[in-house]
């Protein structure tokens, strides 16, 4: 049951060009920084990446875009990345934009053995084109299908050797649903602990969803929009 790998290079064994990956994170928060670096290092190409965002020009998935490693992005919002917009408008990059809630639910469905579900999101818009429509309780819904991936890369706060994970704050976001949906899920953690250290009643991602885990290094955790209040004398 020991799923520990030494580092990103070892944990990503088997990744290849033309594969489909899921990458956790919202903006630059909770992204699998080590896995992304390793994907850049390996230089594999033709990737389909499922990720809520596409990073910024020089960080996160932007690093893979710079190197033209991504063939297709499946995301909900990519407004933070100029290179992305350029590649998309020029037709170099295929893009499938999906409502954020549908993206999350489609990943969960992929992990939960639910091949399709109805949602109201996107009805009457471009998103519903070509999709089955049906009324429930007098309201129109469209049929969305499950997403899965060859590899899911997730980033957690702490994890144990069995793959149990907990996340810090809003760095949780898409990580738990993507962990469920990866054929091989690789978790990188800030702190790798022994089984029994994490409270079993408060595990965010049970280890059954994680195939490989490694202790990440050199987390940059870049902040996109640093927004603060001036310090008061008396806090």
């Amino acid at each position: 049951m020991n799923k520990v790998y030494k580092n990103a290079a070892e944990a990503l064994e088997g990744v290849n060009s033309d594969m489909t990956f899921m990458l956790g994170g919202f903006g630059l928060c909770g992204i699998p920084e080590n896995a992304i670096s390793e994907l850049v290092r390996r230089g594999i190409k033709g990737l389909t990446c499922i990720s809520n965002n596409a990073g910024v020009d020089d960080f996160g998935l932007g690093l893979l875009l710079q190197k033209r490693q991504i063939k297709k992005m499946i995301s909900s919002y990519v407004g933070e990345n100029d290179e992305f917009e350029r590649q998309m408008l020029s037709g170099e990059l295929e893009v499938d934009l999906i409502p954020q809630g549908s993206l999350a639910e489609r990943c969960r469905a992929g992990g939960a053995g639910i091949p399709a579900f109805f949602t109201p999101a996107g009805y009457g818009t471009e998103v519903s084109e070509g999709k089955e429509m049906r009324y429930f309780n007098g309201k129109p819904h469209i049929l969305e299908t499950a997403l899965t991936a060859d590899f899911a890369f997730v980033k957690a706060w702490k994890g144990d050797k069995y793959g149990n994970l907990i996340y810090k704050g809003t760095a949780r976001n898409f990580n738990p649903v993507m962990a469920m949906a990866g054929k091989i899920t690789v978790a990188e953690v800030e702190e790798l602990v022994e089984p029994g250290v994490l409270d079993p009643y408060f595990i965010h991602t049970p280890g059954v969803f994680v195939q490989r885990i490694f202790q990440g290094t050199n987390y940059e955790k870049r902040i996109e929009q640093r927004t603060v209040r001036p310090k008061k004398d008396a806090k």
């Binding site: 919002y77 409502p99 639910e105 809003t170 949780r172």
Partner: protein, 217 residues
């Protein structure tokens, strides 16, 4: 005529005690600054927060605690943090009482366009399509006209829409309008703005029933 902060201030008057509220990026975010003292509302951020608090004090910002606009934020006591599927379960399942969004266009039927300008802006819809498809109470906060002076309150949206027949109210720099029965119903004028001026800036069907009061801010 209202500025952005005043639009937010007017929208804050719509808040009710005990409501859970989702605020979009832009003017909607400012609504949080004008919550009346005597009520308690909780703000949801679709990246996974319920009970979002103010921005952190300088030096206390945490890269692992951001809102849907990617800004560093804090949590109020009694807050909770969850994953994206749970967040949209709240939204899609209609557990949020009010959604405030910006828009590029709104139609007299309540359609909203705020995610795409073909061939030009391709940022994506983020959570907006889920929000507008599910929320029972959607207020749009926007300028009444665009930069070239053209109305943003239309008979029909010209841009790709985000959702159909979903907007219940629009608060602009000129007016408060309710959308029902395929028309904008003028409820209030901004201070100093005439009904004629609002008529002139509204392309969609506009219903003016009797005397229209000025907003109280």
């Amino acid at each position: 005529m209202l500025n952005k902060n005043q639009i937010a201030q007017r929208i804050a008057q719509e808040l009710r005690d005990g409501w859970y509220v989702n605020l979009g990026i832009g003017i909607p975010t400012l609504v949080a600054n004008y919550v009346p003292d005597d009520i308690n509302v909780e703000f949801q951020s679709e990246n996974g927060i319920l009970g979002m608090g103010p921005f952190p004090y300088e030096g206390e910002e945490d890269a692992d605690m951001i809102n849907a606009g990617k800004q560093t934020v804090t949590l109020k006591p009694g807050a909770s943090v969850f994953d994206s599927s749970t967040s949209f379960a709240m939204i899609r399942g209609q557990h949020i009482q009010l959604t405030v969004l910006g828009a590029m266009e709104v139609s007299q039927d309540g359609d909203i366009a705020n995610w795409k300008i073909p061939g030009k802006m391709v940022k994506g819809m983020g959570g907006a399509m889920d929000l507008v498809a599910s929320a029972e109470n959607i207020i749009v906060a926007m300028m009444h006209t665009n930069r070239s002076g053209a109305s943003k309150l239309l008979k029909a949206c010209t841009l790709p829409i985000t959702g159909v027949k979903c907007v219940s109210k629009v608060v602009t720099n000129l007016a408060v309008l309710e959308i029902k029965d395929g028309a904008f119903h003028l409820l209030e004028r901004a201070p100093g703005v005439s009904v004629e001026e609002i008529k002139g800036s509204t392309e969609g069907a506009l219903i003016v029933g009797g005397e229209i009061p000025e907003m109280q801010l």
